[in-house]
Symmetry: D2
Subunit: 412 residues, 4 copies
Amino acid sequence: MTSSAAARTALELTADLPVPDLEDFYRDLHRHPELSFQEHRTAARLVERLEAAGFETAEGIGRTGVAGLLRNGDGPTVLLRADMDALPVEERTGLPYASKTPGVMHACGHDLHVTWLAGAAKALADGRDAWSGTLLLVGQPAEEAGGGAAAMVGDGLYDRFPRPDVLLGQHAVPGPAGLYPHVPGLIMSATTDVEIVVHGRGGHGSRPETTVDPVVTAAYIVTRLQTVVSREIRPRESAVLTVGRIEAGTAPNIIPSTARISLNLRTQSEAVRERMIAAIRRIAQGECHAAGCPREPEVTLGGSFPATVNDPETDHRIAAVHREVFGTDTVFDSGPAMASEDFSKLALGELPYSYWFVTCTPATTWDAAPGADLLEKFDAVPSNHSPHFAPDLSTVAPGVRTLVSGALAMLG
Amino acid sequence: MTSSAAARTALELTADLPVPDLEDFYRDLHRHPELSFQEHRTAARLVERLEAAGFETAEGIGRTGVAGLLRNGDGPTVLLRADMDALPVEERTGLPYASKTPGVMHACGHDLHVTWLAGAAKALADGRDAWSGTLLLVGQPAEEAGGGAAAMVGDGLYDRFPRPDVLLGQHAVPGPAGLYPHVPGLIMSATTDVEIVVHGRGGHGSRPETTVDPVVTAAYIVTRLQTVVSREIRPRESAVLTVGRIEAGTAPNIIPSTARISLNLRTQSEAVRERMIAAIRRIAQGECHAAGCPREPEVTLGGSFPATVNDPETDHRIAAVHREVFGTDTVFDSGPAMASEDFSKLALGELPYSYWFVTCTPATTWDAAPGADLLEKFDAVPSNHSPHFAPDLSTVAPGVRTLVSGALAMLG
Amino acid sequence: MTSSAAARTALELTADLPVPDLEDFYRDLHRHPELSFQEHRTAARLVERLEAAGFETAEGIGRTGVAGLLRNGDGPTVLLRADMDALPVEERTGLPYASKTPGVMHACGHDLHVTWLAGAAKALADGRDAWSGTLLLVGQPAEEAGGGAAAMVGDGLYDRFPRPDVLLGQHAVPGPAGLYPHVPGLIMSATTDVEIVVHGRGGHGSRPETTVDPVVTAAYIVTRLQTVVSREIRPRESAVLTVGRIEAGTAPNIIPSTARISLNLRTQSEAVRERMIAAIRRIAQGECHAAGCPREPEVTLGGSFPATVNDPETDHRIAAVHREVFGTDTVFDSGPAMASEDFSKLALGELPYSYWFVTCTPATTWDAAPGADLLEKFDAVPSNHSPHFAPDLSTVAPGVRTLVSGALAMLG
Amino acid sequence: MTSSAAARTALELTADLPVPDLEDFYRDLHRHPELSFQEHRTAARLVERLEAAGFETAEGIGRTGVAGLLRNGDGPTVLLRADMDALPVEERTGLPYASKTPGVMHACGHDLHVTWLAGAAKALADGRDAWSGTLLLVGQPAEEAGGGAAAMVGDGLYDRFPRPDVLLGQHAVPGPAGLYPHVPGLIMSATTDVEIVVHGRGGHGSRPETTVDPVVTAAYIVTRLQTVVSREIRPRESAVLTVGRIEAGTAPNIIPSTARISLNLRTQSEAVRERMIAAIRRIAQGECHAAGCPREPEVTLGGSFPATVNDPETDHRIAAVHREVFGTDTVFDSGPAMASEDFSKLALGELPYSYWFVTCTPATTWDAAPGADLLEKFDAVPSNHSPHFAPDLSTVAPGVRTLVSGALAMLG
């Protein structure tokens, strides 16, 4: 469909969206967040919606994944994807519909993604006379912990359902609600988890001279790791090294035997990723040598996602239809983000896809945020993974329209 | 009793100690370590032994404490104390009787202390014709976590049982088995736990610029705390600052909101303790300011024990009888240790007491330890709280004799 | 002149360059490096060349600056600029013409810049029949220490000589000799020097507890400053914080009263610059608080240059003529560099200019450099300010041609 | 002489000391401090005084050392020693007689030592009828930089003058003027200088990724070195590691190739000294490995002094006479200090000596110092090597009496 036709049709199909119902659906999901590969309740709720809309569904693909299929005549197969999992974060939004599960929160907006997908399922199914082709809707588990997309593919998603011709995905991000950043190429960075285990020699807290203190060694490693980005990466490269977790010891007066540091890298080229991993190894070794550790530290690579790189032609088409639906000024090239995704794993390294952002900061929050310009405000509002992350409900309907218009642009 | 009479009598009363039985008792305790205030099984085992020996007993004093009383005519009341709790340490001794409870271990020798007490109970009860007075035997809970001695006193130990005229206690320590260090004054340091909570601002690991990273801040605090001892304490003072525990974050790619550091101080004067606490506060505040934390850090004082200071006259008497029992060369002044105890809480700040050490490193371990002199070997062998701490079974009988002879020296 | 005409003319005018003579001139300058505002000998040598070519000259403008004027009929006034100063670096190239002045070296290629300017002066003067307009050649002092360009303007450069219509400048950089990177906009970053003075309390090295140690405090500040780039700057921003100098103390056993840290920032936006300066102040204050310093640290802003931003139209014209002279593949957009310049000060904030790079790494060095791609090799070869920086002599003639062709493109 | 006789005689011989003249002498020396082995003026002034008193003198022993001999019949040879050199410290006392030499100051009281020696020379010479034996007075160079005592011995001091039977020395220290601490054994620690050179790879400050930054590496080394005392030395040992000097770089925007750290150790046993040196090497290597340095760091041992250990019998005699002269309460055992001296080198490792302290803080300074007890006040007043160190002039006469009475106690 041309972008003009797709936009016009999308506006028609979403003219009477059941917004209060979708908001209730969203609030229910938000109240009941589930960690990666534990999204049983979320999957069941999504399946209910897909079936009600007339989709043929399957559950338990890749442990807790969901798929819904709607065949509607000739035309391409378009995959629309929402991720479903929440995070081990203690919610602090104070919202009436805040998480009821202690220590778990939809702090990344996946509840909104599922809501958008459910809304799009109904609108596209109800309006099936207006388009032809096949829709494959995917509720993916475990985007946060990683592995969800690969698990679904590995579990035969494309054996049980048709392989898509194109894939579409979207993510809620900070920014004044009402913008749709697109990038015709690299949009999200690669991510790599790294685990460092420091082996010291434990003992009584009152006799440090008989020990090799792994707590102190781990602390020096963390401070030393700051130099990887500050000294070793070319300033024009975008790279991040975050130590998200450090854990050592059980009591104030026992020097433990080991300490554990979990870190995460964001990179936009393989060369930088390799340089950072080499630097991490070198620093861990050097610090453990400085400490006199009885053993070399263990530096282990954990989960990793490749960069998310949009197919330029596909993304240009989707961006064009979004401009027509929402206005020219709402779509712009935001450049690559440091965030990462396993969405591209659904594309098998060869299928074309477009992945875009939907800003969702409430206007009151945005306007109140300190900062002289957009970027400063952007840094000041709660970001994804923050215990204060709280998308504006005004974005429920627009996020359905982005999916519907995007799908129509690719369908017959 | 004179020290010569006490020594002679003690050797008689302990001539036929049931050593294999006591070793079994010890191995059983070692296999089943229990954390502070959870010493139910240990307490029950000790009560069985005390009752079998003829003591009147009570359980549950100060939650899990045990007392046993034997009135035996006129004379002073002598309290003998063993602490009973184990540590949150994963045992790595490889012993056939290693801990069966994952993550819990008798890494401080309290199982040996209980064994010694049980052995002394039987020997003194069986030999009651040889002395007169009253024996009060105490199995104390929660020496490691602190609070056990105070809990027993607060729970009416001295209302339900006679208040002692003198108290005796002993502790297994590294050193070639067969030595009995005594100090006629300050023998153990004061201890103070301190907790620091760093308040940052959480967010996504890929967007550190929107956060205030508490993991990095905590790491700098740990490195900075090293200067308290290295720069701020007069070199001739003995003081220790150990960070036994650091904990922050749940996942590699989420920057948490807070980080938590638990530390322990060992000091030998109130002025040094105050200087260290002031320095810790100053450093925590300074580092959080450097980081731009949205809130001041919380620095909270936790459990603390006063110094353990032997009554010189009492300790001279006990040291004298130990010299007669074990030989002059086995008893020497080791100077004050950095370790700490809540034993003195049983003395109510006014009763005289003697507390001494019993070395317990197996000869093979000691001889194999690298080091040119005693102090270097001392540092090289596994110390208390080490996952490799493994007292020599040859010390079972001598540790009974120290108690028996010490008690006799104070009895009529 | 059109770029084709300018290229053709430039090739004619530089067909018979006296290359051996220019190489001798270069080697002589290299042997005799002079620090900022001390370029007396260098200025004299340049003036000799300008006068020999027929320029009207003046010395001592802005202390040690040089200008040469050639009026040649109607047409625009074009300024060509070379900077003349060397660096406080001990040369380690091992070259036969290495610096004869201990601790001073032409480690940034300004000797090559002066040689290029001298060669262009002669070629353009000899070929004055081929163009019309006015040439203003400038030998600028003190680019490294900063202030040289401003000093010349402040000393009346444009009162004594005509104000230019356009300015051209170029800089030797690492890279395989024979490339001419151009950027039609931001080409070099802003730079800001910052000085931190830590006030401790001095004393005897054996009594640290009576002092507040500024050496240790300065060291923690340097490690803490690594977090400015690693945690506080958006990854897609290009920013650098380098501590180029640290100085404290005079003897191993005296704790001094103060420590001094000199650092340099590279930024590409005013917001980032301000954020970094605020972070530096915060960190210095926080660390001095942590140390218990008796006084706040002094954080002083030193010299700074604005960003160098080419006039897009002018730069497109110069890039075009360079493509014609050297081949299309030799000119490309390298993106903004972190390096900084005071060249823009000569443009008074309003005159259009083009500033470009000339790669100068010898082929043998480049080929031998480890690395899988251009960027890795780029990082491996000696860069500007390195004691091993040694431009290839093969670039003497091309660097004259860039200036001659660039000037012709702007002249009549 | 018995201590009573020595005390009585000393009080007679010093009853009419020319105090105003000695104060002028002191102020003149204080105004003209000279660094180690440059004490030409100081030596000349001392020689004038010794000759005026009737001593046979020699200059230039061990470069700038001075000796004065007075033979006075039978009896032992007693050496009295003063050190003469000043420190590279900028004086900040604000005294009217403050140093006239920028950056050099008598911050350790050696000017007072020389004054005391000059006063004792005259008093003992004038009163030669009261004693018999031989006096050898030594003005030693280069105590601060080390090497002065050894230089004098190596230059034949005991070939040109009689070898002493006993040596006496004293040092001005903080404390309320009027106390004379003595220790019958270890009174001062061993000292060892260590130099670390970090080899990085220099480059432009804007391109850290092409360099290995030695400034940052040196800073991490300094922070890491704090753990040597805080974690590796038994708390009951007294040990100090001070980084007195750090130096790297020449300009804010050049990353240098090397950094240099000078540190000083104070130890009271050879085992601790060796452990500290091993730890320093390990830390320097580990940090340079962590940084990716192209070369191992150089860790070089510099000057060192052995511990100063008084001969107990000699020191008891001197302490006894000081008690008689100044009152029982003025002499006490202060325990070993962390300070170090090369005085013991004059004793050749075998001659008996006594070395004591003379407190010299002005009463007004002492009384105004914050602190609840003597130790806190001690830490609060300016210590040796502080730019505010200013001994009280009231100590001029007592410091002569300590020498005179001490010498008499050893003479016939």
